[in-house]
């Protein structure tokens, strides 16, 4: 009788635990209903870059009088966030590629690749250089919850003169539980 009771209890516990498992689902980028996370996820990458690109294109700094396109050297985005230990290069790589993609699609720029340029037969010098970094800062609120402040800083500089023709700081702020992992 006792053994049977244990078996039933075990079965019930197993069923309950199995029921608690989150089923695996694919993320629909356009209609992601999941709540925000404390880390800097793909939605934050998209949102922050959209703001930066909007700013860059709206002020008309990329317009050339001759109608030509700029050759831009987009430097790797420096990842100065505290999460860099776990996903080294992933965040800065995503930011870098997305930024290059938007610049190319704008029809105003061509992207200079320094790794391949050293083997090129004819040399080309980039006219602009885009420097960027992403930083994070964690502050503690009065109730000891965390406030995480991410800043994406971008600078577009004319290489011939050193004149900075555009700059933008995009802020993404989050408030999370004190035990949140990011």
């Amino acid at each position: 009788m006792k053994t049977q009771m244990f078996l039933i209890a075990g079965l019930v516990a197993l069923t309950a635990l199995t029921g608690c498992r989150t089923p695996t689902t694919n993320i629909d980028e356009m209609n992601d209903q999941a709540g925000a996370i404390a880390g800097f996820d793909y939605r934050d990458i998209n949102r922050s870059l959209a703001k930066a690109v909007n700013s860059m294109l709206s002020v008309g700094r990329l317009q050339r009088t001759d109608g030509g396109r700029w050759l831009v050297n987009v430097m790797p985005i420096k990842d100065d966030t505290t999460s860099r230990g776990r996903d080294t290069g992933a965040l800065s790589g995503a930011l870098h590629t997305s930024l290059c993609e938007e610049l190319t699609n704008s029809g105003k720029c061509l992207i200079f690749n320094p790794d391949v340029a050293r083997y090129a037969q004819t040399s080309a010098t980039p006219q602009l250089v885009l420097i960027g970094e992403i930083t994070s800062r964690t502050l503690f609120m009065d109730n000891h919850d965390r406030q995480i402040e991410y800043n994406l800083n971008l600078h577009l500089i004319e290489t011939a003169t050193g004149v900075e023709i555009w700059q933008k700081r995009v802020f993404i702020g989050k408030r999370a539980d004190r035990n949140a992992i990011y």
């Binding site: 939605r43 008309g60 317009q63 993609e101």
Partner: protein, 133 residues
């Protein structure tokens, strides 16, 4: 306890009925007839009014759209918006600038937001506004 005569009761009923009918006739503040390119989702329609939408090249040859929206409720209203840019043939451009952007408006408040087209050769747009946070 005061007792009502039949006449008083009918008069009261008439007053309440008229007031109810009149209140029912009052139309709540709604979105004015909108440009079909501006799509406000049903989940926010009665709470947010699009006051104004402007499209202009501004300082660059890229089109910039600016929309002014108003929160007609008495609580903070979170919403999200995105602009899809399309060419002459109605084919949309894939771009990060078409990602959902989040914002909120204070009770009875008004706010504006701007989005710039990813390319200079876009001709048209579709603006989507939904409830969301």
């Amino acid at each position: 306890m005061k007792t009502f005569t039949r006449k008083e009761f009918i008069r009261g009923l008439l007053v309440v009925g008229t007031a109810g009918t009149l209140a029912g006739c009052l139309s709540p503040l709604q979105n004015p007839p909108l440009d079909p390119r501006i799509i406000v989702a049903d989940n926010i329609k009665g709470q947010l009014v699009v006051n104004d939408v402007r499209v202009a090249p501004g300082l660059s040859d890229h089109l910039t759209i600016q929309a002014t929206v108003q929160n007609v409720t008495r609580s903070v209203l979170p919403f999200k918006y995105r602009v899809i840019w399309v060419d002459d043939d109605g084919i949309q451009f894939d771009s990060l600038v078409s990602s959902w952007q989040f914002a909120s408006i204070m009770p009875q408040g008004i706010t504006s937001f701007k989005v710039t087209s990813p390319r200079a050769d876009v001709r048209n747009f579709r603006l989507y506004i939904e409830w969301g946070k």
